[in-house]
């Protein structure tokens, strides 16, 4: 091509499988601009608004009894929901990845179901079951048990919404790892439990951690489903996201964003951990490119 193309050299791509330098610059600029405006600006605004009235006001937000109650409730809910779903995730992925049984793909589909259901509907189904006019409502009232507008309802809704996270992370990982390592351990005399503990767990450790992190972030930040079952009693049944809503609707913006900044930090930490894990253990997390 030499001579004929010489004049174009400044803008011509270095190879036939990429675009010209100008086109690349424009495309990169567009992508960066969009991400900056749409994704990064909202995060900045959270911290900017939270600190709008100064750092000492920011700190006083968390001294409020209702705020502390909301933080405590959020921690309690996550402390129940995350271990339950982790246990389930390990059990389900063990059964699905290591064994053959009829109805396996149905089970896998059902596990993903909560992902495709609107958070509001996820909360609603528990109201239908346990609400004052729900199927078990009268019985629960007669026995003095409260589920909706109380801790159990909030936990149930959170468990439902975060149900698939750990399982979804582990199933493809364990399927791809196969059973050869565990079988090797068995031929060397290990019991089934020893094989699980010394071989399976270390093999899935990073994927498991990743799933737990995602599950936890979602459990602490869930809004729609919890909003439906909580009853919005400040100091009692408000989690952090609900407290954010309450403060915001009371035009108490600085406090609302201060509470929101906690969840934003959690999200950022989760993302950072995910990125680190992918960089260091990418080969054992990514389901496509492993040895």
């Amino acid at each position: 091509m030499g001579m004929r193309e010489a004049g174009k050299a400044a803008t011509a791509p270095e190879s036939v499988t990429t675009e010209s330098r100008l086109a690349r610059a424009v495309l990169i600029a567009l992508a960066v601009l969009f991400l900056a405006i749409f994704l990064i600006l909202p995060v900045l605004v959270v911290f900017s608004e939270a600190l709008a009235k100064g750092f000492s006001f920011y700190l006083t937000t968390f001294k409020d009894a209702d705020a502390q109650a909301a933080i405590r409730l959020t921690l309690i809910v996550a402390a129940i929901a995350v271990p339950l779903n982790t246990l389930f995730g390990i059990a389900a992925s063990w059964a699905i990845a290591k064994f053959e049984f009829p109805g396996k793909s149905l089970l896998t589909t059902l596990i993903d179901l909560p992902f495709s259901i609107s958070p509001v509907i996820s909360g609603m189904i528990y109201v239908l079951l346990f609400g004052a006019q729900g199927y078990f409502g009268p019985w629960l009232t007669a026995h003095g048990v409260q589920i909706i507008f109380a801790l159990p309802g909030i936990v149930l809704a959170t468990v439902f919404v975060t149900f698939p996270f750990v399982a979804r992370e582990l199933i493809p990982l364990m399927q791809e790892q196969g059973s050869a390592d565990e079988e090797a351990a068995l031929t060397l005399g290990a019991s089934g439990f020893q094989a699980f503990l010394t071989i399976t767990l270390p093999n899935i450790a990073w994927g498991l951690l990743y799933g737990v992190l995602l599950c936890n972030a979602r459990a602490m930040g869930e809004f729609g489903a919890v909003s439906v079952v909580s009853g919005h009693i400040s100091g009692l049944t408000n989690t952090i996201p609900l407290q954010v809503e309450l403060l915001y609707n009371d035009y108490n913006f600085a406090a609302a964003f201060a509470m929101a900044s906690l969840l934003t930090l959690l999200a950022l930490v989760t993302l950072a951990a995910k990125t680190l894990l992918e960089m260091r253990y990418g080969d054992s997390l990514a389901t496509s490119s492993r040895l």
Binding site: T187, G189, N203
Partner: protein
């Protein structure tokens, strides 16, 4: 240890089903399970190991029925196809694993375990690499670690699934020889699965050929090569061409033209004649020879091969010809066969 496999059936293993497989493995022998993919050879190995539970049939270790013995208690050493080394453990920890998981009372002391592992590392010629992780080793080295790990539990039998499958040609040859030496000095009963006939013939004392979930023939390499018991064995082990023939009770005929011998044919009717390339004799056309035409000639590493169209149907067969022979494509010739075997169609 002697192993007997009796009438094993297995619906669907990972690689292939078994339909009544029988095999008698002698003490201290090195035996190859050879067959195409899906023939059930890996399934059979896994049944012996206790990794698959057969639907019916029995496995005997010496005279004990081992069918129901769990894999942990069979005392077998198993080398997996892709080695299944534990990625999160060092080489030495991989080798020591089988000793560490022993119940408290039987478990040797930490120093003993370490010494034993070091010893094995030396045996597989990897001294000094104990602190490395599996991914830091080459394929051949990983293979030897897998073997050392299997030997650590002092197995009564060594089972290897496609042990050289993932290695390149040169390493494969070295490892084969090394495995043979190792077998000769440790004297373990050793069973390995392969789809490579050269590997089986070169390495094994005896070869068991599997097809469609059954053991078709077991014998020394010479036996299975020179006296194949079935058309399948003949064509799977070594190059083979075949011709449709008919047996009229006394003579073997191809398109009505009698052949120079009957090649063991007994039952009348349509059958096929199987011949090795070097057993095909080329000469000028004549009454006692099959009319044929040379289609093409090509050079191989060792000699020359000719593609020959036989008779009216122009069935293509392959013959080995002398380097010096003056033959050209398109030339009409006469064929006869020095050796061959007839099997029913």
């Amino acid at each position: 240890m002697r192993i007997r496999v009796v009438d094993i059936a297995k619906d669907f293993g990972r690689t292939g089903a078994l339909r009544g497989a029988n095999l008698d493995i002698r003490d201290s022998e090195l035996i190859a399970l050879l067959g195409p993919s899906g023939s059930g050879k890996t399934t059979l190995l896994r049944v012996i190991a206790g990794l698959e539970i057969p639907k019916s049939g029995k496995v005997f270790f010496d005279d004990h029925d081992a069918t129901a013995v769990p894999v942990q208690q069979r005392r077998i050493g198993f080398v997996f196809q892709n080695y299944a080394l534990f990625k999160h453990m060092t080489v030495i920890d991989n080798i020591a694993y089988g000793l560490r998981v022993l119940p408290g009372a039987q478990r040797p002391s930490k120093t003993l375990i370490r010494n034993r592992a070091e010893e094995l590392l030396k045996l597989v010629q990897l001294s000094g690499l104990g602190k490395r992780y599996p991914r830091q080793l080459s394929g051949g080295q990983q293979q030897r670690v897998a073997l050392a790990r299997a030997l650590a539990v002092e197995p009564r039998v060594l089972l290897l699934d496609e042990p050289f499958g993932a290695l390149d040609a040169k390493v494969r040859k070295d490892l084969r020889r090394w495995l043979r030496e190792l077998h000769d000095c440790t004297g373990h009963t050793t069973v390995f699965v392969t789809h490579d006939q050269d590997e089986a013939l070169e390495l094994a004392d005896r070869v068991a050929i599997l097809n469609l979930g059954k053991v078709e023939q077991v014998g020394k390499p010479d036996e299975v090569y020179d006296n194949p018991g079935s058309a399948f064995v003949m064509s799977f082990v070594g190059d083979t061409s075949s011709l449709p023939v008919e047996f009229d009770g006394t003579r073997l005929l191809h398109e009505g033209q009698p052949l120079n011998a009957t090649f063991g044919a007994v039952r009348g009717g349509r059958c096929r004649l199987y011949v090795r390339p070097r057993d095909i004799v080329l000469s000028v056309p004549g009454a006692d020879r099959l009319p044929a035409t040379i289609v093409s000639i090509h050079r191989t590493a060792a000699g020359r091969r000719a593609q020959i169209a036989v008779g009216r149907a122009a069935t293509i067969i392959e013959a080995e010809i002398d380097i010096a022979a003056e033959i050209t494509s398109g030339e009409p010739i006469g064929l006869s066969f020095a050796k061959g075997r007839v099997f029913p169609e």
